[in-house]
Symmetry: C2
Subunit: 346 residues, 2 copies
């Protein structure tokens, strides 16, 4: 009888415990993560006027920013593919392959810095990189300016977007317009956002177990905040260095920015928003299955063996980070004129 009473008490305790655990889970999650806001964040010194956002959208989609006039921001950050290109590494001018996997532009505005090594402090600084990188768009600021200045549609759009400026058509303003457009590429309303806003039923039991494991195992140490990542720099392979098939030896990560020995193989922790639909994974893009990436992170970063069940649960949780994808109207671009520099393919 005592045994039955005890059992009943234990059962009640366990049920209560489970209820507490769920409450506790939401409370702890709220302390560590924030939902994607429903509207784009305001950028310091870069007001999101409709004119400027529209100009940024034009520039984002315009392949004439590249030397070949074949490659645009959209090429590697496809708004139909969650802001990425779903390639191991990106392909640019002359079919050259770049060194790293294309990070998504979606929600990138919430990252502390841009690129895998954080070498650009914001999206405006970032935007200037690929335009000039020889393996990407392979252009020069001078030629980009000559191109934009050759099209009355752009001249007018820069004037309207940067009113009162004596010389609105500048490379810096091009980058600012792209930044303000990219800031609109946010994906609110993921199941996990609904959970963070108080809807306990937004996650299934398995997804909650995944969230518990994600926080309990230590994943959230590097993957927290609005983007579950993107906020700090960490060595890849802090406990156990992955094989060179996953972490190529010649990519020294943030060391290439800081030249500090401690930054060798250090990367910005990737944001995990929409991670289930932005494969492949890691800066090398060498891992295609999210579940494999989860297991690798366990051994490489945490020095633990994540069980099959936990890997399934964490993978299920990560899929709850897929939010509403932005609907973007493709811009009608200003026509090329006789003064527009011609594409150079070589």
């Amino acid at each position: 009888m005592l045994r039955i009473l005890l059992s009943t008490a234990m059962l009640a305790f366990l049920c209560l415990g489970s209820a507490w655990a769920d409450d506790d889970l939401m409370r702890r999650a709220k302390a560590m993560f924030q939902p994607i806001p429903d509207t784009p964040p305001v950028l310091d010194g870069n007001p999101a006027t409709p004119e400027r956002v529209d100009l940024g959208r034009m520039l984002y989609f315009d392949p004439r920013l590249s030397k070949s006039q074949l490659i645009s921001c959209q090429t590697c950050h496809n708004v139909g593919l969650a802001g990425a290109d779903l390639q191991e590494v990106s392909t640019g001018h002359g079919w050259q392959r770049g060194p790293r996997n294309s990070p998504t532009t979606f929600n990138a505005v919430f990252n502390v810095a841009q690129f895998w090594d954080g070498r650009a402090q914001d999206l405006a600084e970032q935007a200037k990189g690929p335009v000039q990188a020889s393996v990407e768009m392979n252009n020069t600021p001078e030629r980009v300016m000559e191109t934009l200045a050759s099209m009355p549609g752009y001249v007018e759009a820069f004037k309207a977007s940067f009113p009162g400026e004596e010389e609105p058509l500048t490379f810096d303003n091009m980058a600012k317009a792209i930044e303000v457009f990219e800031a609109t590429l946010i994906t609110p309303n993921a199941p996990f956002d609904q959970f963070l806003k108080g809807d306990a039923d937004a996650l299934s039991a398995t997804e909650k177990d995944g969230l518990r494991a994600f926080m309990g195992k230590g994943c959230a140490s590097c993957h927290n905040g609005v983007n579950l990542g993107g906020l700090g720099y960490f060595p890849f392979g802090v406990v156990e260095r992955p094989g060179t098939d996953i972490m190529p030896e010649d990519d020294l990560g943030r060391y290439q920015v800081t030249a500090t020995a401690a930054d060798k193989y250090v990367f910005r922790s990737p944001p995990l928003r929409n991670v289930a639909i932005t494969q492949p994974y890691f800066h090398s893009g060498r891992v295609w299955k999210l579940r494999d990436a989860v297991a690798i992170m366990g051994s490489a970063q945490l020095g633990i063996q994540i069980s099959d069940e936990e890997a399934d649960q964490i993978t299920a949780f990560l899929a709850t980070l897929t939010g509403d994808q932005p609907e973007v109207t493709h811009p009608v671009l200003p026509p090329t004129t006789e003064r527009t520099p011609r594409p150079i393919l070589d």
Copy 2:
């Protein structure tokens, strides 16, 4: 006095003559050209249900139809660039350059056949070409089907677009969906359309002079109908063969389709809708200035020297063929899954 009277009479006659000429111009133009309709044409056996148009839009924008997963219909037929790529010839898989200038998809539904040599009888047949061409998307129907079948979003979309079909997900249906989407890419309401619909003031005096010359010199013999071209096949250089810089000797045109000697260097007369914003010109894409193209047509096709003034007028008239560009929402594409074939870059 008689002289004054005569002069007044002559003046009155000339004014009347000019008025007649304008009336006559519109009447003659209406007999030779038709305006772009405001709504897409109905396709035989391919109903434009919203589901099917949406599916076609997804396919048009999806680079995963290509072997590299980098090239989509949109790459060479950019909806922001009047349905073309503004390149001499298109660049495809492995940065290979194709043999010909990319024809616009805008208003292409009104052409009698597709491609410069008319080798596809409609847009559905056309759509299957670039997907498989080794210098373009370099894929196989089998691999395309495997790719589409790997994504539940596509499986559902094909079901909804081809209801009642036992096997909705086929290569043929892919082509039909693309066709029905492409048929929505029309550009009505150009100044010339307004003129054809009765608004005599829609064209300026110079543009009307251009239209007069365009009809009077014989351009309209090959460039008539809704698209001012795209309806028949004609030898390039019928009177005087242009230099090989403009007409490369190794491209035999329609001969490659019919193997008939008379079809050597025969091409479908290009449609001239939006021609002012779809440079460069000719199947070789070797001529960048519309005015130069007009002059070359005079000597090559008509055996006449078009005067500078006439070339200016005709060029001004051709610019009135630029219509309202379609506003296309970029599709959110179905996510890649673990069953999706991976991109092959080599």
